[in-house]
Structure formats: structure tokens, C-alpha cells
Amino acid sequence: MSTLQLWGQYLPQFLAGLVVSLQLTGAALVLALALGTLLVLARTGRIRILAAIATGYVEVFRAVPVLVLLFTAYYSLAQLGLRLPGFWAGVVALGAFYGTLYGEDMRSGLQSVDPGQREAAVALGLSNGAVMRRVVLPQAFLAFLPPGTNELSNLIKDTSLVLTIGVTDLMFQANAAAAATFQPMDMFLLAGLVYFAFYILLSRILARWELNVQRRRS
């Protein structure tokens, strides 16, 4: 069988795998953004102990390989009695790791806003909440978008690690097809192409979005 025929035969499995990869990406992204927000709030807030915990968390989780986090979430938590399905172990591990990166991106986005902006808003008589909502966050968001989208494309690629705990994502399907056909080269090439196509599509959409936001403000 030619490569193309093989690809045609396995494409449905690959696409099913892609759907799992996307669900994993989406759920991990939501968790990472929520966690990142909490980390920023804790680190910039007034409660010392929370700030220290958040800083410690970021230092540790940023330094550990995602694969270690994944095995911890899947195997070690199970030994402690918390048995997560593979998919959710993946969401937790990826979310826990990417939350530190998103937290840092949000923090530098906030820091990129000129202090004069806050002062001008305060001088107008705006409440602290209004200063954040109407002046600081809209500007911080623009600074957050480029590193934020970069983080997302890395997250998509890192979802392939869940193959190791048996989640039937795109990489899992490629691996299974490689074993069944004895054509690992062809099958991993197809997986690469699907990841790549998705990556191109997503980065185009995000780049256009970014451009739109920027254009609306000039």
C-alpha cells in the first residue's frame, strides 16, 4: 500500500485523535488561565503568605518537566487515593504547568502599562476597580496577547505527552497506526502534518485577532 492510501485509511482515527487533543488543549487552557489569574492576584496582593505560596508554586512547577507532572497526576495521585482518568490527569498536569507561564505573562502584561496611565485614571476620580477595568486591563491585554498565543501553541504540542498515559489523542492514534502498519515513518509524518496544519490555522487566527485589536486602537 502506498503512503497516501495508508494515510487515507487511517485519517478518521487521526481526526478522532485530533478532537481529543483539542479538547485537552481547551480544558488545560481554561485551567491554566484561571490558575494564572489566581497566581497574579496572590503575588500582587497584600497577603504575604499567599504571595509566598504563589511564588513558591511558580518556582517549583515551572522548573519540573511536564512529563513528570503528568505521571504525578496520573500515577502518584492514584496511590494517594485520587484516581484521575487519563484525560483529566492530562488537563491537571498541563494546566498546572501552563498556569505558571500564563501567570508570568499576565504579570508582565500588567507591568508593561505605564504608571502614568493609572495616575491619570486615579486623578479623574475613578475607583480602583474602574481603573483596572477601563484603563489598566485593556492595555495589559494587548501586551499579554503575543506571549499568550505563543504559550498556546506550545501547549498544543505538549498535549502529545498524554500518549504516555494512554489517552487516545492524536499522538496515541499515530503510535497505534505505526504499530499496526509497521510504517512508523509514514504515520508519525502524518501526525506531524496534522499538528502543523492545526498550528498554522490557529496561529493565523490569533495573529489576525491581535492585528484587529491593535487596529481598533490606532
Partner: protein
């Protein structure tokens, strides 16, 4: 000048850590009075006017703006007091600080909509009227980065005026501008003074101070070294410290000669025969 006090400052002292920026400053600003604060760089002029709307806390003294009072040293003022004072005190900054994500119109509409819950249509009408009054009606939909420095500063003044402040603070409003734009901004400020707005203005534009200010306050070495009617202080300073400062500011300008001065912005040299 009426005896109606708008801003009353008593014994104001400001420190940054161990460093005292100024100590025991007292003076009053009456309704419709124009006060020019001058003095060498680093004298604490910016810090001083920023205490008035509590952009900086201060260590001692008190500042009363109409019915609301800030007291130094103790805890922070109540949110309500701060809000009232900031709504009554408008400010224009040296670097304009327009909100880059909002149009000129959006910048001017924001204050009333956020603080007074003014409906958008009403805020828009008012903002449009203000922008028109400073000659920027056709720039209303432009974003700040598309505006010249002079236009940005005029929008920033409108943004503050939209709150109907009782007093306006200006911190060197023209020092970041190209010379040809200084005149348009000074013209706007002159218009406010003519309408009876109470103004406190940090400036290096001595000719403008002489023409528009009622009172000049000279700050140097962490205190007010001289204060009095504008013309007296600028032409016949009595304090040694203000004499050295004024000589230093004015000498280079006079030496530069009339040839360099041009247009409505030619308001720098003291004692010239400008309009």
C-alpha cells in the same frame, strides 16, 4: 480676587523614605486665582502639586479642597474623601497620559461616565463641546497616537475639564512639546484663566506666568522661598534664592535674543515686549 478659599494648604511636609522633599509649606488659593509654581528642577514642584489630589501621600500637614480635607501622617484618607477631592481637582500631566486604547472623545467621556454614571449620550455631547472649544472637533475620533503633542495635551485638559473641577493642576504642561505647539496649549490655559477657573500651574514659561498668573510661588531647596504677586516676584524678587534661580533661567533666554522667539509660543523670556 474673592476671599473664597478653594485650596488651603497648611504645614505640608513630604518625604520619600529618609529624604525630605519639602517641609512646612502653607498657602491658600482663592477662587479664580491663577498660581504659578516655579523653581529649579528637583525642587519638589511636581511632588507638591501631586499631593493636592493625593497622588502622593504626605507625612505632615493638611490640605483642604473646599469641604474636604486630607491630613498627613495618620492613616490613608477615606475612599469617599479621596473620591470627592479627585473629582473636584482636575490634572494635566507633563506627559499627557492619554489612554491609548480610547479615542480623543472616549478619553474625555470616561471620567463622567465612570464616576458620575452620566449616560453615554450626555457624556458624548459634553465631550464634543469641550473638544470643539479647544479646536479639536475634527479630531474627536482619532486615537492618541495619531495626535500631535499639542493636540494630546489639549485633549488631556478636556478630559480633566469634563469632570467640572473646581481647580485645575498643571504640571509643566508644555515642557514636552515642540516649540511650535507650546502656544496652542498655553492659549487653552489662558482661556481657562479668563473664564475664572482656579489654576495651579507648575511652569518654566516665565512670560506666560507673568501675564496670566496672579501669584507666583518660588520653590527651592525643599521650601517656598518666595511668594507674592506675579509681576513683583518675577521682576523684583526679594529672596536671594529666587534671584539666583530667576537670573539663571532668564539669562540664557535673553541672550538667545528676539530672533529665536516666534509665533504665539514666544512666551519664554521675561521682560520682553510680547503681547
Amino acid at each position: 480676587m474673592s476671599s473664597d478659599v478653594v485650596v488651603d494648604i497648611q504645614g505640608l511636609t513630604k518625604r520619600f523614605g529618609p529624604r525630605t522633599v519639602f517641609e512646612d509649606i502653607s498657602f491658600q488659593v482663592h477662587r479664580s486665582e491663577v498660581v504659578a509654581v516655579i523653581g529649579p528642577s528637583g525642587a519638589g514642584k511636581s511632588t507638591f502639586i501631586r499631593c493636592i489630589n493625593y497622588l502622593h501621600p504626605f507625612e505632615a500637614g493638611r490640605i483642604r479642597v473646599l469641604d474636604h480635607e486630607l491630613v498627613g501622617g495618620g492613616g490613608p484618607p477615606s475612599k469617599a474623601t479621596l473620591r470627592q477631592i479627585r473629582m473636584q481637582v482636575g490634572m494635566a500631566f507633563q506627559t499627557f497620559n492619554l489612554f491609548p486604547h480610547l479615542t480623543a472623545l472616549g478619553n474625555v467621556m470616561l471620567g463622567p461616565m465612570e464616576t458620575k454614571r452620566v449616560p453615554a449620550s450626555e457624556a458624548r455631547d459634553k465631550a464634543m463641546a469641550l473638544l470643539t472649544s479647544v479646536g479639536l472637533a475634527d479630531r474627536a475620533e482619532a486615537y492618541p497616537r495619531r495626535l500631535s503633542g499639542g493636540e494630546q495635551q489639549r485633549v488631556a485638559i478636556c478630559r480633566a475639564l469634563a469632570m467640572d473641577p473646581e481647580v485645575m493642576l498643571f504640571d509643566e504642561p508644555t515642557s514636552m512639546l515642540d516649540p511650535e505647539m507650546v502656544g496652542e496649549v498655553l492659549g487653552t490655559i489662558r482661556g481657562l484663566a479668563a473664564q475664572g477657573m482656579t489654576l495651579i500651574l507648575v511652569t518654566h514659561e516665565m512670560q506666560f506666568a507673568k501675564e496670566v498668573a496672579d501669584t507666583v510661588v518660588v520653590m527651592a531647596d525643599g521650601r517656598v522661598v518666595e511668594t507674592g504677586p506675579a509681576r513683583d516676584v518675577l521682576e523684583h524678587p526679594t529672596s536671594e534664592r529666587s534671584r539666583t534661580f530667576l537670573t539663571r533661567v532668564l539669562k540664557p533666554l535673553e541672550a538667545a535674543g528676539d530672533g529665536q522667539a516666534s509665533g504665539p509660543g514666544a512666551t519664554t523670556a521675561l521682560g520682553g515686549d510680547h503681547p
